[in-house]
Symmetry: C2
Subunit: 210 residues, 2 copies
DNA sequence: AGTTTTTTGTTATTTTTTTCACAATAAAAT
DNA sequence: ATTTTATTGTGAAAAAAATAACAAAAAACT
């Protein structure tokens, strides 16, 4: 098996579960505890760990602190990552106001928007004109960006970001973005996820009777 | 092959791509146009369609209007679905302000929050006390809900929603929710997605040299 | 010290998902 | 009207992912 995206997402989930277990006072954990917390099978947990050389003690389980540290290293939590946001609309604003990123070593450093009306210091974080993006990103060597603009603008914004040196994108626009081979793009599409929930609720209602 | 979640997500993407193609003036479409728009292989598109009995003309491709209609029926776009939001924080507010749901037959009808300070008519949509959720949902037979509360509160909120008759959840809390077998839960975790982007950007930098 | 029990780490198996390949067929061209 | 060409629809093959199975090892117990 090769390392795939789902596997990395599971690592993040394990890490979150470990935080909670640690807060509850636990010191060690077994693969089936983690499996239960994350909703997979114990063998999946061990498989994932073995892929990354994460190891515990036979019969003794895993040490939570060590695991958290190792997972942190794998997931790049050893250093702080600067991230920019493009689009100061509903989503962009919500992201800027969100307080949970810091704890994970994610630092939203600036927001950019094409609309002058939104270029204010909205609740702490500066919102700059889009034209300033390129210089800002180059100067600070920012690698990661969030696209929270309407779909029509998304590709254009991406092109600017790429030219500035951005290598990874979290995209909220409901459109497939095109970029070079080595560009990393994850998509979040709330509408689509809702639609999906609706589909399966209806599908279940049909199969299991009303 | 059995119908799985990814397949349904692809159907939604096809539908979105079809809207765009239609707006561009196209009348018919081939599997490789859709494949390109969505980022899959043409054979995947045809396979997905064949699963749902969606059919085109050999050599003639697919009629866009018909496809949109059929996909709409499959995805439950024939009727309007009422959805409630719990949690009037950053995400909840962003969702309430978002204008795109209506077009997809998704109607956010109310928001609930435990915090009295948030129980105002924030920008149009009413925010009710959490205690009123159950009656509201029962009375209007709402089936779908969005959880946008902190992780510690999420399971508790879910339990209330379930007791009120909610059957499908879009969950923004970074925690695994527990519910009955037939409860549909989709999770959106922005932090985790960002972490994922960061991981792969770093991974690529390592393998391809700086 | 030896035995039992529990849990890991890893290989093998199964299942799922994707991709390929190509006959069937409809449109276009001759 | 016949031939050519392009594209679907689907069954077969390949690839990927998840699950099971179990030997190895560490802890607990006797």
């Amino acid at each position: 098996m090769t390392i795939n995206k789902n596997c990395i997402i599971r690592l993040s989930r394990y890490k979150n579960a470990l935080y909670r277990l640690k807060n509850l006072g636990f010191v060690k954990v077994f693969s089936d505890n983690l499996a239960d917390a994350v909703g997979v099978l114990p063998s999946q947990v061990r498989k994932d760990f073995s892929l990354f050389g994460l190891t515990g003690n036979r019969r003794g389980g895993y040490n939570i602190d060590e695991l958290i540290e190792s997972l942190g290293n794998i997931l790049g939590k050893d250093k702080v990552h600067e991230v920019i946001v493009v689009g100061a609309g509903n989503i962009g604003t919500a992201l800027m106001n969100y307080k949970g990123f810091e704890q994970e070593g994610i630092n939203l450093v600036a927001c950019f928007d094409i609309d002058p009306a939104k270029q204010k210091k909205a609740s702490g974080m500066p919102v700059f004109p889009l034209e300033e993006l390129k210089d800002f990103v180059k100067q600070r060597s920012v690698r990661i960006g969030i696209i929270a603009v309407p779909d029509i603008a998304a590709q254009q914004v991406l092109d600017i970001m790429i030219s500035a040196g951005i290598k990874g994108i979290l995209n909220f626009a409901p459109i497939r973005l095109r970029g070079p081979e080595d560009l990393v793009v994850n998509n979040i599409n709330v509408e689509l996820e809702l639609e999906n929930v609706i589909y399966f609720v209806n599908a279940l209602r049909k199969t299991r009777g009303k």
